[in-house]
Symmetry: C2
Subunit: 218 residues, 2 copies
């Protein structure tokens, strides 16, 4: 792959990450308004603040590469906003499931991406994906809610399936619209479909694992 | 003032500060959704994240004092939410004016409070009130908007007056409802009204100064 295409791919990847982190900041602070206690509200605000610091890290890296962060991010805000507009949680528990399932899938995706990167970008991508505390917080609260009222499990399992469907459809749109990013992620040419299939299978396995952690049928 | 009343006053003050910072986090992230560009959206998210880190600092201090942060904050969320519910910005510029004028008045108020505190709490209060970058950002954007369309100045000046009226009415409610906090702020007994009057006069002067900085009539 020629140098310019590789660096276009990296700027695309960082733009996607920065955009996702900033959207996650706004989404977590939206979900925090549904929090039943001040402590939960503070916890969500803390997660949002952590997303912002990740965003800030990637934005700095884009600037270091001579890219305009706003330009690098712009192509991805449409699909990300579309995903979130189609999956507005109707209550606190749906918000937690979304934070856990959605961010978990996103993290898996980025980890898969990191494997094909050079050491510098790989370290950065893995660092900004460090768990910001969503996972255990969401698992504890969702399991407690199911223990208190087992019938919420069915509704939340359906909700999680809808999240996955919407996420995959937006991810396909992103990849189809950004050839340099697609090349970076799955290589070009004949092997592309096979690579993509392997990646999706990994994502689906990890998702099933997360659903069991929440106490939900996958 | 007896020891228990003094520490009740400090816990009350920290509860008020923590509550205000957490509410500010959520309000700034709400206002950020109105931002016209990705860069502005990122700037508001950064300010919100700074508010969260101040909140986190005060929460740690409440825990160190053996107080429950949720309990210390609870009495203040009503008036703070009422203030924000009555002053929802209808656009990006109103949001900026609110961030600048509202946070400026809040900071003046806390600085006045800091003067009557012991050195330890005083340093903490002054530190968490360090400007988080709202001021210059808001001034630059509001002045540019007025330069581009001078007739927005009248609307924004009215809006700022409404903000001040609502803020003072909620501040009076907070002080009336919390005698230990009132004692801490204005002393007890005969001098109370005089002290309060002096504090309001200082706040009003500083407000007039901020309105001129924005290019608005006060």
């Amino acid at each position: 792959m020629p140098e310019s295409s590789a660096s276009e791919g990296i700027v695309g990847l960082y733009g996607l990450l920065a955009s996702a982190e900033l959207v996650a900041f706004y989404r977590l602070s939206d979900d925090g308004k549904l929090a039943p206690t001040l402590a939960d509200k503070a916890a969500l605000a803390g997660m949002a603040a952590a997303e912002f610091s990740h965003f800030d890290r990637i934005r700095g890296e884009l600037e270091r590469l001579g890219a305009d962060p706003g330009q690098a991010m712009a192509p991805f805000t449409g699909p990300l906003d579309a995903f979130h507009a189609r999956t507005v949680p109707s209550d606190w528990l749906e918000g937690l499931v979304k934070a856990y399932v959605g961010d978990g899938m996103a993290a898996d995706f980025y980890r898969a991406v990191a494997e094909v990167l050079d050491p510098g970008p790989r370290t950065l991508v893995l660092e900004v994906l460090a768990d910001t505390g969503h996972a255990q917080f969401a698992v504890d609260h969702v399991r407690a809610a199911i223990a208190a009222d087992p019938k919420v499990a069915g509704r939340l399992a359906l909700w999680a399936r809808r999240l996955v469907g919407e996420a995959l459809s937006q991810a396909q749109r992103v990849i189809a619209d950004h050839p340099p990013l697609a090349d970076l992620l799955v290589g070009d040419g004949a092997s592309q479909l096979g690579e993509m299939g392997r990646m999706l299978a990994q994502l689906t396995d990890a998702h099933a694992h997360r659903m069991r952690a929440l106490g939900l049928a996958d």
